[in-house]
Symmetry: C2
Amino acid sequence: MTKQIDVKEAAEILKSCEDVYILIHMNPDGDCIGSGYSLQAVFRKMGKRAKVLCADPIPERFAFLLPEKEEENFSAKKIIALDCADEKRLGDLEEEYAGKINLCIDHHISNTGYAEKTLVEPEVSSACEVLYKVYRAMGVEFTKQIAECLYTGISTDTGCFKFNCAKADTHQIVSEIMREFPEIRYDQINRNMFDVKSRSRIQAEMLMLSQMEYYLDGRCTMIWQTKKICEENQLDPKDMEGLTALPLQPDGVKVGITLRELENQEYRVSLRAADEQVNVSEICAQFGGGGHVRAAGCYMKGTPEEVRQKLLEALRKVLP
Amino acid sequence: MTKQIDVKEAAEILKSCEDVYILIHMNPDGDCIGSGYSLQAVFRKMGKRAKVLCADPIPERFAFLLPEKEEENFSAKKIIALDCADEKRLGDLEEEYAGKINLCIDHHISNTGYAEKTLVEPEVSSACEVLYKVYRAMGVEFTKQIAECLYTGISTDTGCFKFNCAKADTHQIVSEIMREFPEIRYDQINRNMFDVKSRSRIQAEMLMLSQMEYYLDGRCTMIWQTKKICEENQLDPKDMEGLTALPLQPDGVKVGITLRELENQEYRVSLRAADEQVNVSEICAQFGGGGHVRAAGCYMKGTPEEVRQKLLEALRKVLP
């Protein structure tokens, strides 16, 4: 059973610990990368050793957030997990670190409380926004790198301030970061995070949109990233990441589903809801998954037809 | 010659005037609509008559910003133009109102100073952000409708806080609006402004992307909205509005151009720059147009090949 702590206590722990491994979740996104590398920078500013561990490589577009020089090897005295709701989300790091995590800082309502101590603020946009408050409580002076990490995490997890999780506090924090670092090219960060695409990515999106399936009177859409489609169209797996917003585009859609074929008839299923009328986290929980009210995921097995019918059955009961 | 005034003087003028026509630009967008209807609401709160005039109809997705009841007819004692850099941008209203505008509030650096008095703040994200400051200087108490108008204008003109014009002040203002009206569904506004598309709009975007032309080693892209393409694919002209961000998507593009065929071999040409290395306002000025550093437009005549060559020639000289 984890001990729930507040921002102040988390700040005290961070100030007192040293030689830290910072674990972030697999398939890393802007928020966990911004969280991890901002915290590493904070430790380093205090003259402490810290390194960020991730089961998967950091995508190229986040390279600007990484430190110029990585830490030499050292053994961890403290293990901290960031933006990670469940130990399973550690991916290949789970085996080594499960049960050994001293502190978790997160913003997922579904956090399982796997760490010794947990600071989880489910009302907050992003782990980076939680960390901003922790750093302020620590009295840390920001560097440009820390500011870029935090901005990137907040911006990416709020869909560039588009989602409901972008609240008055979020904008105020961003305002404070920008006031302190007006020289950062926030617009270029956003352009690289949200707009710039390779030509092959543009092709992949067009293909997914053109094959989008409409169900339940257009209230549910599905896009299928099957191995067959990817092979036939010579799509790069990299170009198939993060397409989960596409099925929510058409007017009238309530739930948009992205299904990605893994091995052995297994699918990674991502549900996105247009508003709170449907809690997709509850739907994913029926299939052993979880997440947020409007963005959740699960793994499902079966033929496409079986998986499709299970999802549509679950949705038919709850769709407005 | 216009008299340049500051926020305080604009606030004084608005407090003292009555029976106002508020003119906004043709092809109205979120910023001029939010500006116009927020100012109308402010006047009405003060018990004054005001109506918003626009040469073109207000698009359906902005209907939520309009007042429940329109003003009865009255004659104007004061004429105010908002978010309108040039009298030409008044469209069909130009003939009647050119030379008669008492006050202009705007944020375009290219404002021609056509009004008797002008408040122009080119560093500010949107006319709505300028107006926010004016309303505060007036001591106006906001209503939900005023807040929604201002948020919509700021959000749409900053590309949902993505662009360089979204600065510390912008986020602080949004934070203040959200703090006062936490019940507004800002995320639904953003979803309706940026994400939701009709199926026919999705088709139109796919078509434009699939026919995108790459020039100058991929640093310049063009999409052509010719009458022929629209007719052949049965595209609705409504679905061809606001596609100017598409040509900036591909990695490596510096300037993305959207060309819309009007009548008699005339094109409405929209240039968008990836960063400030190219000032597209200067390029458009060569063809009698103008705008911002990274977003500008002009009208050009000729065959597609002539127009294309003129643009590429102008760009070849300045592209990094």
